[in-house]
């Protein structure tokens, strides 16, 4: 099954129809569960990273599948479904270096953190964008880092501000600014699961899924 098919089969979280935060949370959890089931039934949905030897840049596709390992490449997007920020299920960040990530948390805002998601979270998805180069992905990470020190954005629907950021909005803005890709197709809020479910991304690593 292609990753495009995955995006078609798995509808994004419907923000417009949500009437309460409980509904929004439930919809995100259900979408995570659908993604998990799809991966369980078709493990080939987890593809090699674009810098892997299995990736054919010219053909823009994969020749062979390699066993995925936890990513360290600058610009790879990380998502977990663990925990909640208000009505946001899980968390998202972007890899800055082999040892560091750029993330936004309520208490510290945008900051670098240790790149150890697979040791501290039970579930981890790593995704990357289709059609971008590793250099463009690295620029997205630089863009995310350029917002360091900015506060957390509790106004989840305000995704166009660059004065404050919540976790998945930070990743969304970094890619939109540097590559033009809109990783939030479906609504006002950019949920962490949207970054996995976007038609512009594909999964390169999972843990606990």
């Amino acid at each position: 099954m292609s990753l495009c098919m995955l995006s078609v089969i798995l509808p994004a979280v419907s923000h417009a129809n949500s009437t309460s935060s409980e509904d929004i949370v439930q919809q995100q959890l259900e979408t995570f569960e659908r993604v998990e089931k799809e991966i369980e039934s078709d493990p080939e949905l987890v593809q090699p990273d674009k810098n892997s030897s299995s990736y054919n840049f010219k053909a823009n596709n994969f020749q062979a599948l390699a066993a995925p390992s936890y990513p360290k490449r600058k610009g790879v997007i990380l998502v977990t479904k663990d925990g909640k920020f208000g009505s946001l299920v899980g968390h998202a960040g972007i890899i800055y270096s082999e040892t560091k990530t750029v993330e936004s948390f309520p208490e510290k805002g945008v900051k670098t953190y240790d790149n150890d998601w697979n040791t501290k979270y039970k579930t981890v998805y790593a995704v990357t964008t289709k059609g971008t180069t590793v250099a463009q992905d690295a620029k997205a990470a630089d863009r995310a880092y350029s917002h360091k020190g900015k506060p957390y954005n509790w106004e989840f629907t305000n995704i166009n501000t660059t004065k404050k950021f919540y976790c998945s909005q930070l990743v969304y803005e970094a890619y939109k600014y540097t590559t033009g890709l809109n990783l939030n197709h479906s609504g006002r809020i950019v949920f962490p699961i949207d970054l996995v479910n976007s038609s512009h991304t594909y999964i390169i690593y999972t843990k606990g899924v």
Binding site: S97, K111, Y113, N118, K120, K122, K148
Partner: protein, 356 residues
């Protein structure tokens, strides 16, 4: 007579009730308090959302009991995840829990497993830290600058603070000085490290030593006048197989090339330095250990059966764990002398410590 009988029966009932209650209460608390004095190994399981549980084992590897704590994620998220042992205490980083940051490090009393927070007033969630007998030193920063605070462990009062150039990555203390490694990212094509030599008393900067082409170190050790750094990542974010040796007297920097990459922890024992292979992603390695003779620079390489996620040199033995077993090796030839399986837990293995 009947009245006497009734009173006697009442006393009997009360006695039976009291006895039952005592037996019941002892049963309830037995798993929490039994054998705390007898344990040799304490194994910690947690993740960002689940409170840490400490499993205790005796010297023979027999599981004794488990103990819940109220802290989540210790020591995940820190650049310095190795605990520091000081007298009867063991100190851990705990910069993140759930989706929050914590502005303290933890002091765990080995005798009773009670945990105390050592805070700072600079809103530092310590990813880089150390302790001496009286004070804790905590740091955290971004790629530009880092705060550093000094707190009295007994009172919890911050007594000094400063700001350093670059991102703090590691620190150790010795005598009257702190050695804080920071990285300067101002030019992406020239990322380098700085050893900030700091006066422990007032945190004033004494001098700096530049180390070229370096972006991350997972361990630092001071041996006499030589400061050793594991070069985990070079300035281009590639894994390195170099150990950096800095003579603090003449500032001469020497590079020692090891026969493998993915360098993790260093252990100093007599005339040798032992360097383990590992990574914070818990990815498989070749499980190699380099034994560097500090005088001759001769290097021997050994391999352990399990990954060395957390390891110690204790009583002339190498004691290591991958979270499934604890194994003990002979330091001369790295032959395995003993091992035992760990019970495991629903949460992740994050650390273990030895109770002397």
């Amino acid at each position: 007579m009947n009245l006497f009988k009734t009173i006697t029966n009442r006393y009997k009932m009360i006695f039976i009730c009291l006895l039952s209650s005592m037996i019941f209460l002892q049963g309830c608390f037995s798993t929490e308090t039994k054998n705390i004095e007898d344990y040799k190994y304490a194994v910690i399981y947690t993740n960002m959302f689940e409170k840490a549980v400490i499993h205790l084992y005796n010297e023979k590897g027999k599981f004794l009991s488990k103990h819940k704590t109220k802290y989540r994620g210790m020591p995940l998220g820190a650049f310095m995840e190795r605990p520091i042992h000081m007298n009867n205490k063991v100190y851990y980083a705990n910069p993140q829990s759930k989706h929050n940051t914590n502005e303290f490090i933890l002091e765990l009393n080995k005798s009773n497993l009670q945990i105390k927070e050592i805070p700072n007033e600079e809103k530092i969630a310590p990813t880089v830290w150390t302790v001496d007998k009286e004070f804790a030193y905590m740091s955290e920063g971004d790629l530009t600058s880092s705060k550093l605070a000094k707190t009295n462990i007994a009172t919890g009062k911050q007594v000094a603070s400063t700001k350093l150039k670059g991102e703090a990555n590691y620190m150790i203390e010795h005598s009257d000085k702190l050695y804080v490694l920071t990285f300067i990212h101002s030019n992406p094509d020239d990322i380098y490290g700085i050893i900030n030599v700091i006066n422990k008393k007032d945190l004033s900067l004494i001098e700096t030593i530049k180390i070229d082409d370096m972006m991350y170190s997972s361990d630092m050790e001071l041996v006499d006048n030589d400061l050793f750094l594991v070069k985990t990542s070079d300035g281009k974010d590639n894994q390195s197989n170099e150990l950096i040796k800095i003579n603090l007297m003449n500032k001469k920097i020497e590079k020692i090339t090891l026969p493998f990459k993915s360098l993790s922890d260093m252990h100093v024992h007599k005339d040798h330095m032992f360097i383990t292979q590992g990574n914070s992603f818990l990815e498989p390695t070749e499980k190699k250990i380099a034994k560097l003779h500090l005088n001759s620079s001769k290097i021997d390489v050994f391999t352990t059966e399990i990954e060395n996620y957390v390891s110690y040199i204790h009583e002339d033995q190498f004691i290591t764990s991958d979270g499934t077993k604890i194994q003990i090796y002979n330091l001369d030839n790295f032959k395995k002398e003993k091992e035992f399986k760990l019970e495991g837990d629903e949460s992740l293995f994050t650390s273990f410590f030895i109770n002397d």
